[in-house]
């Protein structure tokens, strides 16, 4: 064909026309559209079968039921279980973000690790479990061969009633070391106050849902206290009711916390004066004879003046309270008007089922023993002990005990030695463990009295107020073993990592979740198979004991952690009472006095175990209210306003010195009979008020994880930009305080205490008490990944802790600071 202009045009016109009628261009456009939106770096969620696993959240000791949603073998989402008695569907923000803890590769240890470079260089070598455990067993055997088993120490953050904690404690017993330390907890203070006044050792049990007047002395009920799911669900159940039919909540707080905002009455006494307010209320109750005569006359000791066996006269609680805590005096101490104190007391007394309670933070912050006692005295005055809607005297669950551990002579000798932290000695007679005295003991000796330190389920370098001295101690301790699944501040200082599973990969128990008023045993289930080469700490402890050999191996005759747990649960079966399932229809607290539903539905232990694994809970929906005889285990067998145990302890401690010296040592300012009774102790800061005019109070937020578990990225979404902006943490300051210090919203300022300084930004907030700087806990990590590390500051770096009188626990709310704009 001739190549002409005509033919040329024909060819191209035909070509274009032909292409257009063919599907090619349309297909191409479509493909381009799909291609541009299918970039390989946009993740494509995997498909699979949808399923759910019923389990229990063990991120705190609240024991909320969770439903883990899965696709294939992946966890996709966590939801609260409506058919679980504790939380009835409610879950806190941290529990909701649990999948980020499981799957965040950047924060997890994936296998046992040995440190190879110098400490802090973060040079690690992956080793096998056999290598790791054999090496550790040899080291521990070495200590025992030298006759120094006490050179093994441990810091354990597991809940003291959990099976893992008991296994670790048993390991220490069998080896012969008394130096097993629990992390400080709010429950310690509750336990001490209950022991001193009631002689009981059971768990805290507040029957809040049945109360009609809740007087909360700073207890952050809606800010994550106790079992957060339970508290928020309880609030949701009554919040819509008319004020006249729902419980009246009077909350005492220095800041417009979530609890204070929802309270019917919010009172703000000066920080640390809560005990004085409680005593002022006691004063009105006694003066106006509004206390329960029945309870006070029959069941208490030390209320009226009395004579002891030697014929010495003692002043009674009533006498002292009437003299020292008149509403006017209380107004001077607390700043709360006397008319309000009187009105509050009358309202408390005239309510049908009032309850007074204390508490601090989300569970890791201990309080002041005398303050907790002062508040509990109100429950006694109103006769609210073991009454519906009051403070119940609860017992530990009847879990079957293990056979006694075997002790050889090395172990028996070792256990006789004094604990390094001196907890339980005459100096700190009622305290379980003290991290700061432990650190001091290590720091003050020439060579470290600890050769091997085991740290489990805790990140004390980040979460305790006196972390500086602990870090110094850790530097000195030659060998540190961490069981943490996370690359947290503490595990980064270790020499050997024996990583545990995270909570969604393992079975764990929560016997009696914090604060829940009826007996409940929560059991979690692994939702997925372990992702990495980690091992359950329970199994690791058993395996370690067996490798150490001798009587230690004999004390651990189990094949697996599950077997030890199952053995304990047999005790619940043998009780012959209890429920395994909850249908969500009637809350358990509504039927505690009905004595119905006690007969178990299971016929054999195996069927109970299977059902328990399926539902995750065993509970007894019953409480024997009203009994007062035989529940108090104090020396007087009564509820003690005058604590014989304090008297006994101080007598022992003051042997060979004067009582005044002993009191000064223990840090008690009161004198005379008041020492043994609930009273207000002024806590003096070590800093000069003129030099450091402001008070720094750390706060815990429900949407910011401040404990061992690092804050998951999802929670960062919920922080306001007046809480965290870029890497700057904000502190809350009252407008008055801000203006006297020349600070505006967003100003950068340096907070300086006696022990250090931090740079923060200022959020001017009317809801903050003047003169106080509120700083959130939970940020300022130096470990974890980019989503957490380096954001904000950790208040504990400048906290200047003093010791709480009597308990010796660190007082974290009493640091004086200056604030200078930069």
């Amino acid at each position: 064909m001739e190549f002409s202009r005509r033919n040329f045009i024909k060819f191209f016109a035909g070509g274009i026309g032909g292409t257009l009628v063919s599907p090619l261009p349309w297909k191409l456009i479509d493909d381009i559209a799909i291609w541009t939106q299918n970039w390989s770096w946009v993740p494509l969620p995997g498909r699979g079968k949808f399923s759910t696993v019923n389990s229990v959240c063990t991120l705190c000791s609240g024991g909320c039921g969770i439903e883990v949603r899965k696709v294939g073998n992946r966890v996709v989402k966590i939801e609260g279980r409506r058919n679980y008695p504790v939380n009835q569907g409610a879950l806190c923000p941290l529990g909701m973000a649990g999948q980020q803890i499981l799957y965040n590769e950047g924060i997890r240890w994936k296998a046992p690790m040995k440190r190879v470079g110098p400490r802090g260089s973060q040079e690690w070598e992956e080793i096998t479990w056999d290598e790791a455990l054999n090496g550790l067993a040899t080291k521990i055997r070495g200590l025992r061969n030298e006759g120094n088993p006490e050179k093994l120490a441990g810091i354990d953050g597991n809940h003291s009633r959990s099976t893992v904690a008991l296994l670790i404690k048993r390991l220490f017993d069998a080896i012969g070391s008394p130096n097993y330390l629990g992390m400080p907890r709010e429950e310690d203070t509750h336990a001490m106050a209950a022991f001193l006044m009631q002689g009981t050792n059971g768990p805290v049990a507040y029957d809040l849902e049945n109360s009609d007047f809740i007087l909360s002395f700073g207890c952050p009920l809606l800010d994550g206290w106790g079992a957060p799911g339970r508290m928020m669900s309880a609030w949701g159940q009554v919040a819509g009711d008319k004020p006249s039919t729902r419980p009246f909540l009077a909350h005492i707080d220095q800041r417009a916390s979530r609890t204070a905002l929802k309270a019917d009455q919010w009172l703000a006494p000066f920080p640390g004066t809560e005990a004085a307010l409680a005593m002022g209320i006691a004063h009105v109750l006694i003066r106006e004879k509004r206390y329960s005569k029945e309870f006070v006359d029959d069941c208490t000791f030390g209320f009226a003046d009395w004579f002891d066996a030697q014929g010495h006269g003692h002043k009674g609680f009533a006498n002292i309270v009437l003299k020292k805590y008149s509403p006017q005096i209380v107004e001077n101490i607390t700043g709360i008007k006397k008319s309000i104190v009187i009105e509050l007391a009358r309202r408390f007394a005239s309510s049908h089922a009032p309850i007074a309670l204390t508490g601090r933070g989300k569970g890791l912050l201990p309080g002041s023993v005398y303050e907790f006692m002062a508040v509990h005295a109100l429950n006694a005055l109103a006769g609210r002990i073991n009454k519906s809607g009051g403070v119940l005297v609860a017992h530990d669950l009847p879990l079957a005990p293990w056979p006694d551990a075997e002790y050889d002579t090395v172990a028996t000798d070792g256990l006789k030695r004094e604990r390094l932290d001196r907890a339980g000695t005459p100096r700190y007679p009622f305290t379980r463990s003290l991290i700061h005295t432990f650190s001091e003991a290590v720091n003050s000796s020439q060579s470290s009295p600890v050769d091997i330190l085991l740290i489990s389920s805790a990140n004390p370098v980040f979460t305790i107020p006196d972390s500086k001295s602990l870090i110094e101690a850790l530097d000195k301790i030659p060998f540190i073993v961490s069981f943490s699944p996370f690359k947290d501040e503490t595990s980064l200082m270790a020499d050997l990592i024996l990583p545990d599973h995270t909570y969604l990969e393992k079975m764990e128990d929560v016997p009696r979740p914090t604060g829940v008023q009826y007996p409940l045993f929560a059991l979690s289930q692994p939702a997925v198979k372990p992702l990495y080469r980690t091992r359950h700490s329970g199994d690791v402890i058993i395996s370690l004991a067996q490798r150490i050999g001798g009587t230690i191996a004999e004390s651990f005759q189990w094949n697996s952690f599950e077997e030890t747990l199952k053995g304990r649960v047999k005790g619940l079966y043998q009780l012959g009472q209890g429920q395994i399932a909850y249908d969500g229809s009637e809350p358990v607290w509504k039927r505690l006095d009905k004595k119905s539903g006690l007969t178990p539905v299971y016929s054999s232990f195996e069927s109970m175990w299977e059902a328990l694994r399926e539902t995750g809970c065993w509970y007894v929906p019953s409480h024997t209210f009203g009994t007062w005889s035989e529940i108090f285990q104090t020396p007087s067998k009564k509820f003690e306003f005058f604590s014989s145990n304090i008297e006994l302890a101080l007598k022992t401690y003051s042997k060979g010195k004067s009582l005044d010296d002993a009191l000064a040592d223990v840090g008690i300012l009161a004198r005379g009979d008041e020492v043994y009774m609930p009273h207000y102790e002024e806590l003096k800061s070590r800093a000069d008020e003129k030099e450091y005019p402001l008070l720094l109070v750390p706060i815990e937020l429900i949407n910011l994880a401040s404990g061992w578990i690092g804050n998951p990225p999802f929670l960062n979404k919920t922080l306001f930009d007046h809480q965290l902006r870029k890497d700057d943490l904000f502190v809350e300051v009252n407008p008055k305080t801000a203006s006297t210090h020349g600070l505006q919203e967003g100003s950068k300022a340096v907070l300086k205490s006696r022990t250090g300084e931090l740079t923060v930004r200022v959020h001017v907030f009317h809801g903050a008490m003047p003169g106080v700087v509120f700083i959130p806990l939970g940020l300022g990590h130096t470990a974890y990944d980019r989503y957490l590390k380096g954001k904000g500051v950790n208040p504990y770096e400048i906290i200047d802790p003093t010791e709480d009188p009597l308990s010796g626990q660190s007082v974290w709310w009493n640091t004086r600071v200056t604030m200078v704009k930069i």
Binding site: G80, P713, T718, R786
Partner: protein, 263 residues
């Protein structure tokens, strides 16, 4: 203004009781987990981060200790007369007449952000970056919701995929209507204080229809005529007044009460 809400289909809506809400943030997290919402290294960058359900903190500004704070959760208002829909040049966002849900079709979105400018509630977020999930965290992504790519706008969908699966289930069982509890968005389900109620505003049997008649019910910026389907309840007058703009001297009593409307 012309009402677009059709009476024939369902009109899903939400009532949030602010007196009950503690501002804990569980809804935000449940939403992010349910809908594969990405996370930034710096989530404090509120102009770049993505939050389908954002919580605002409002205070009455009174001096200590008379300060009151209200936490206000803000999902997409799912307006009956959505300002975002007519401005979209790509028809990537539509108002569904069957369920009243304002959809967002990511694959159609060209990222012009007209809708963001039009939305008076700041309910829409733009993907300035590729969706980021910390290493290993793409393993929790749900196949029910597609992750978004860089350059598109996203927003709350009232967990539309939940409606779809509830509908499929009902269809499979031979039913046409959904029960009240059959379709519930993730935030409603997660709220630990049961502050959020969800249902069909066109169905007089659903609790939401009853709740919006409550004298303390109101909507945000109601005077714009966007007809939001998210209602709030509060007994705090100062908060209700904050929900809209008023002229100086305009009667406070007028407040922000729902107008009587048809349908």
């Amino acid at each position: 203004m012309k009402k677009r809400d059709s009476a024939k289909g369902a009109r899903y809506g939400m009532v949030i009781d602010l007196d009950r809400c503690t501002g804990c943030g569980t809804c935000t997290i449940a939403c992010a987990a349910e809908n594969n919402v990405s996370v930034l290294y710096d989530e404090s960058d509120k102009t770049r981060n993505i939050n389908w359900l954002k919580i605002y903190m409002l205070t009455n500004g009174k001096a200590f200790p008379h300060t009151e704070v209200v936490y206000l959760p803000r999902p997409c208002m799912q307006c009956g007369n959505p300002p975002c829909v007519p401005v979209c040049p790509a028809t990537a966002t539509t108002n569904d007449s069957d369920d009243g849900i304002v959809s967002q079709i990511y694959t159609r979105c060209i990222g012009c952000r007209y809708c963001m400018a039009a939305c008076p509630y700041h309910a829409r977020d733009f993907n300035w970056f590729d969706p980021a999930f910390p290493k290993g965290m793409d393993r929790y992504l749900s196949p029910e919701v597609s992750p978004r790519m860089r350059g598109v706008v996203e927003k709350c969908s009232f967990c539309h995929h939940r409606l779809m699966s509830a509908k499929s289930k009902a269809y499979f069982e031979g039913r046409r209507d959904l029960r009240e509890d059959e379709y519930i968005p993730a935030c409603v389900e997660a709220c630990p204080t049961q502050a959020i109620t969800f249902g069909d505003l066109n169905n007089p049997k659903h609790r939401v229809s009853e709740l919006i008649k409550n004298p303390s019910a109101f909507r945000l910026l109601e005077r714009l005529g966007t007809e939001p389907k998210v209602y709030y309840l509060t007994t705090k007058d100062w908060m209700r007044r904050m929900a809209d703009n008023y002229l100086q001297g305009e009667s406070k009593k007028e407040g922000n009460r729902p107008e009587k409307k048809n349908g």
